[in-house]
Amino acid sequence: MIAQLILSILLAGILIYAWSEYARSPAVAVLALFVATAGLYFVWVPEHSTALAELVGIGRGVDLILYIWVCLSLIVVLNLHLKLRTQMELITALARKIALADARAPIEEGNIRNPVRE
């Protein structure tokens, strides 16, 4: 009972957060709403998660939820990784532009051309 209450409070928090985020990123909000609602449902009716698990060939409902959780986490991590890399490329482009704008020419001029071979 205690675990169910704590989980319910946490999931309800996610529901509220997802609702408030809807304007900013609808896709993420809908996904979070769906996951939190499903979570609440299975917290209070765990038998149904077991029934669902048996339907897809997994022994216990808890295991099913664990597997789904692992998959979702991996997707999130991959997504973050790609976003970070894109951001790094933008930062690099910006830093390069600044560096090239501030490039300092050699002190003694005139020795730029070099006769490697004539």
Binding site: A95, R96, A99, D102, I107, N111, N114, V116, R117
Partner: protein, 227 residues
């Protein structure tokens, strides 16, 4: 015959204060234009390089060697360089090898001339590092199809046209393999030439560790998966 080729030597440097001055002076003495890309060093690398006669570009913060090379190449292209050479800052390359690579571009009508320590010499190369480099070479041969003998050599020459075909996006050490895969994709002609790499106590201390090599491999695999 090519007349008065403009050759720019690009030297990426990160905290190379103790040696950069000597390296720049030697390259300048041979008659090349030198541009040092100071990759956000916290020491006096930029000042030392400038005092020795190099053009200096300073990254506002450390971005990695691949990013520094690309910045230097961009600069050299903007300065109308005809030949662009990449050269390590730690003093392990020989200045006399630059001319050898630049000449190879003309003689072989190639767009890239890549230095190879395994065709040339690498005195004092530690056995573990030799093994690592051979493994990296085998991997890159497999993935790019280029028949090269030394994939992680910082000494290379390329024509202006070749530089335009290159766009390094791997900021960190994986750029060496990335460059080769872009050479393969460009379809431009490449040749290898023997060069000498002298491992000093200084360059060995600064070189890549085994951990770096693992990171390079992971990064490359990731790139193949997602891009």
């Amino acid at each position: 015959m090519v007349s008065r080729v403009q050759t720019y030597v690009v030297i990426p440097a990160f905290n190379e204060g103790p040696v950069i001055s000597r390296v720049v002076s030697e390259v300048k003495r041979a008659g090349y234009a030198v541009v040092v890309v100071d990759d956000g060093s916290s020491d006096a690398t930029a000042e030392e390089a400038r005092a020795a006669g190099a053009g200096v570009i300073t990254h506002p913060f450390n971005l990695g060697q691949g990013a520094a090379l690309q910045t230097g190449i961009d600069y050299a292209v903007a300065e109308r360089a005809e030949v662009i050479v990449t050269f390590d800052a730690d003093g392990q390359h020989r200045v006399s090898d630059i001319a050898r690579l630049a000449e190879a571009l003309v003689e072989e009508q190639a767009d890239f001339a890549l230095g190879s320590r395994f065709l040339g010499q690498a005195p004092n190369l530690p056995p573990l590092r030799r093994l690592l480099l051979h493994a990296a070479t085998a991997f890159t041969r497999l993935t790019t199809g280029l028949q090269v003998t030394d994939t992680h050599n910082g000494l290379r020459a390329m024509t202006r046209r070749a530089a335009a075909a290159i766009r390094l996006r791997q900021n960190r050490m994986a750029h060496a393999s990335e460059l080769l895969s872009q050479i393969a994709a460009s379809g431009l002609r490449y040749v290898e030439r023997p060069v000498t790499i002298e491992y000093t106590a200084y360059s060995l201390a600064k070189g890549q560790s085994l951990g770096d090599a693992v990171l390079i491999l992971l990064d490359l695999f990731a790139r193949r998966l997602y891009r």
